[in-house]
């Protein structure tokens, strides 16, 4: 394969201005002509022009179905598709591991539940989760629990510090077969003590699946370095297109997997009365792959690779911390999260008397796109006895000026309506 990680230039410190120029949507006016200020990056990030172009160019020049083909376009498409897999493996420190393309983090976790857990767990086996999980890391395990009689154990977190109760975890993980845990919470922004979780998980002889949907945009995970067993990610939360994500799987876990969906590409031989399957990643990729999406994601990784990831992380955290400091000054405003070193650029907040939806509408009318609701983490919110929060979440193109504008809008709205 032609691509090598040497093709990535030495990363430089993030230039927000330069980065920003690559995102045409950030120039948009919304509603009655207000400048868009996009603060909903934890839901989905915007895409650099390079990613949009990579997909357009693929469709304009190289589009063909991949694998098993002996014509030029198909070769080009196959090479580009597999090259993206390789780029992702390099990016995530998983060159000795398997990377299966899925439609996103959600499908990646469902894949783990079907391809690994369904065949390797039996009645009475234990899965440890946390009360901080996104629904995508709850519902598949509930379904499995119901089907197979597997037990789910929940690790609580502290309502003041927003930190997982690691003592409780250490007890819960004893005798468990699997731990499913979010790396960085999409509501609190809290980065969990992954290293300790991995250590305790493996000490207990269990496997770990990490939900890294929110980690991937601001952290360069080292899958093999950390020793994770399975890792779920979405392209659309890190500058890539919709419709694609991945489950990264270490070799020993992969070897225990059974096929999930059946169909083209994942088979070796199909007979009327039985079939045999591929032995590499293709075993878990049934049907025509997400070809343009994989190529777009590869372009997103290329784009990301130009920036020193630490500077990206620090920039987001700085914006989040400033936001928190300013929001705290508003009477009646509560912040959910600690925003410490390592945490994500996500700030959840709720005013005691201004309805979250109303605040979001007032902000929307002023051009601010923020998210409001349960953020697909109802159990987490229920712990706080609330049904919704407002949430702003930053990515590398957000500016301090945008934060200032946001804060001044919230102040104005609270003064008027709260």
């Amino acid at each position: 394969m032609a691509w090598s990680s040497d093709d990535w230039p030495e990363p430089i410190a993030l230039s927000v201005e330069d980065a920003r120029n690559d995102f045409p949507i950030l120039k948009r006016k919304v509603g009655d002509g207000k400048q868009l200020i996009y603060l909903d990056n934890a839901a989905t990030t915007q895409k650099p022009q390079q990613v949009i172009d990579a997909m357009s160019e693929y469709y304009r020049n190289n589009n063909a179905n991949v694998h098993r083909a002996a014509h030029t376009l198909a070769s080009e498409a196959t090479t580009a598709y597999e090259e993206s897999r390789l780029k992702l493996k390099h990016w995530f420190g998983a060159t000795q591991s398997r990377l299966v393309f899925t439609s996103g983090t959600t499908e990646a976790i469902n894949l783990a539940a079907h391809a690994w857990a369904r065949t390797n767990l039996a009645e009475g086996d234990v899965i440890v989760l946390t009360e901080m999980e996104h629904h995508a890391d709850i519902v598949p395990w509930q379904m499995l629990a119901k089907e197979k009689g597997v037990e789910l154990r929940w690790t609580p977190f502290d309502l003041e510090t927003f930190e997982l109760d690691m003592d409780a975890f250490a007890i819960a993980v004893k005798g468990a077969k699997l731990v499913a845990c979010v790396h960085t919470s999409n509501v609190l922004g809290v980065r969990n003590p992954i290293e300790e979780i991995i250590h305790l998980t493996h000490e207990a002889g269990a496997k770990l699946i990490l939900d890294a949907a929110q980690a991937a945009p601001h952290d360069r995970l080292n899958f093999e370095g950390l020793g994770v067993d399975m890792l779920a990610i979405s392209a659309h939360k890190m500058g890539g297109p919709t419709g694609i994500g991945a489950l990264i799987i270490n070799e020993s876990t992969f070897q225990q997997m059974e096929p999930f969906m059946g169909g083209g590409d994942m088979i070796r031989e199909v007979h009327l009365d039985y079939s045999t399957y591929q032995e590499n990643e293709h075993m878990l990729e049934a049907g025509t792959p997400k070809i343009a999406e994989a190529i777009g994601w590869g372009a997103a990784i290329d784009w990301m690779a130009q920036w020193d990831i630490d500077s990206v992380h620090q920039h987001g955290l700085f914006l989040a911390q400033k936001t928190v400091a300013e929001l705290r000054k508003i009477p009646g405003m509560k912040i959910y999260g600690r925003h410490a070193e390592g945490d994500g650029a996500v700030v959840s907040f709720l005013h005691e008397s201004l309805h979250a939806n109303d605040l979001a509408s007032f902000l929307d009318a002023r051009g601010f796109a923020i998210r409001t609701g349960h953020h697909c983490a109802q159990p987490l919110l229920r712990k706080f006895n609330i049904a919704a929060t407002n949430r702003v979440s930053y990515w590398l193109y957000n500016t301090e000026h945008e934060v200032d504008e946001f804060i001044s809008a919230v102040n104005e709205i609270c003064n008027k309506y709260a």
Partner: protein, 141 residues
Amino acid sequence: MATTEWPEKLLEIIEDFSAAFDTSERYEMLFELADDVDELPISEWTPSTKVHGCQSEAHVLACLNEDGTFHLRGAADSKLVQGLISITAIALEGLSLAEVAIFSPTYVEEMGLKEALSPSRANGFLNMFKKVQQEAALLGE
């Protein structure tokens, strides 16, 4: 129902909204209108008053005035949603049940609010309006 046929009080509101400078101002007006509704206190919220398919908690109760014309009470935890209930109450106040039954919910569009309502909130409004009409129909039985 064509524009000219809106009840006078509703027409006034539509005109106010149309004259508004921007969506921010329209939301402000909506927020203020919330207080004008004959508010259904939380103590009277029941499963049967609840509007389903609405992102916030919204409740409506269809009543009759002494003269047998329509009267709406309602409330919501979101003030903007309560503002929409309030406008609906103003729109339908004093109409006959037959008139309520054929009333068109398009006034939100004329107020320039439809496009400002997110798809989920627009659905919430329509669900609320439909519920009001259904309750009104029940009153007439």
